[in-house]
């Protein structure tokens, strides 16, 4: 099968961006800034707890239980953020069998053989973009970027639930909605979506359902393959 092309820049801006007109349009520089900000925020949560633990132990070793509680906080807080990120890929309740089958058929027509097979195994669609490699789920997407492949960006985005019938869509249709929007305007898609988490890929991987992990592996493989073909 031919290698899927990177998402081409569309002449159209996603109309949904009008609803979030105050947000700067996402681009490479903005993603870098946002990633750095998430790292600093995480450090601001973790370092004081670790510092307090060290200080307590220095003052009085009998404070070990409290120090351990501080270390646990330092560990748990990033994990909670990562859980929030992993939740964007969580499958939603299924529709009836026939709509699911029809929706999966349409989605299969939109993607290549490899992506179709990956979706059948993991419930996620892999899409090569200009910003990076996307894994599109039913209510969100995960972005891995070429320049910092160990960082994951988790976006919460879904079919507008205020729209008529949106809540009853089969899973394949939910993904197809997001995929078409992503293909039409990748930067607009990332602008409309809410960033739930940006941080260590391994933290997200640990927290997604086991059957979805091969999709993350496939995305990393795609990044590696692309990195080696870039000039």
């Amino acid at each position: 099968m031919a290698e899927p092309l990177a998402l081409a820049p569309g002449p159209e801006v996603l109309p949904e961006t009008a609803a979030v007109h105050w947000r700067p349009r996402v681009d490479d520089a903005r993603l870098r800034r946002v990633g750095t900000l998430w790292t600093l925020t995480t450090a601001a949560h973790v370092v004081p707890f670790l510092g307090a633990a060290a200080l307590l132990m220095w003052l009085n070793p009998l404070a070990l239980p409290v120090a351990l509680a501080c270390v646990a906080h330092a560990w748990v807080i990033p994990e909670l953020y990562a859980q929030r990120g992993a939740n964007v890929l969580r499958p939603r309740p299924r529709a009836a069998a026939e709509p699911e089958r029809r929706a999966a058929g349409l989605l299969g027509d939109l993607v290549g053989h490899d992506a179709r097979e990956l979706h059948a195994r993991t419930g996620l669609v892999l899409e090569q973009g200009r910003l990076g490699v996307w894994l599109v789920g039913e209510a969100g997407a995960l972005l891995l970027r070429h320049e910092r492949p160990r960082r994951a960006y988790c976006y919460c985005v879904r079919v507008d639930t205020r729209a008529d019938g949106a809540s009853k869509l089969p899973s394949g249709d939910r993904i197809a909605h997001l995929l078409l929007a992503l293909r039409a305007d990748e930067q607009g898609f990332a602008t409309v979506a809410n960033l739930s988490f940006s941080g260590a890929r391994w933290r997200v991987r640990r927290r997604v359902a086991a059957q979805m992990r091969p999709a993350i592996h496939a995305a990393v493989t795609r990044l590696d393959r692309r990195s080696t073909t870039l000039p």
Binding site: L5, A8, E16, R102, A103, R158, V159, L169, L180
Partner: protein, 74 residues
């Protein structure tokens, strides 16, 4: 044969099928297309691997036109 489909709770519904040499079918397709746009649907056509485009007029030569609902941040 071109198709206009809407993604909905059934998986998808075919709203119109036409060929450019059938004016009645084209007219019916255009009417169906406009009615769905008025309901808030957005029309998309695939323009190659990894690329889709939003259209505001029914592209008569496109093999498949897909109507989708707007997206929003979750």
């Amino acid at each position: 044969m071109s198709k206009l489909i809407r993604m909905d709770h059934t998986g998808h519904s075919t709203l119109a099928e036409w060929t450019s040499d059938d004016p009645a079918a084209v007219e019916a397709a255009v009417d169906a297309f406009r009615a769905e746009l008025d309901r808030g649907y957005l029309a998309m056509v695939s323009t190659g691997p990894g690329h889709a485009e939003q259209v505001r007029e029914l592209p008569l030569d496109a093999p498949l036109v897909i109507l989708r609902l707007p997206i929003s941040g979750g």
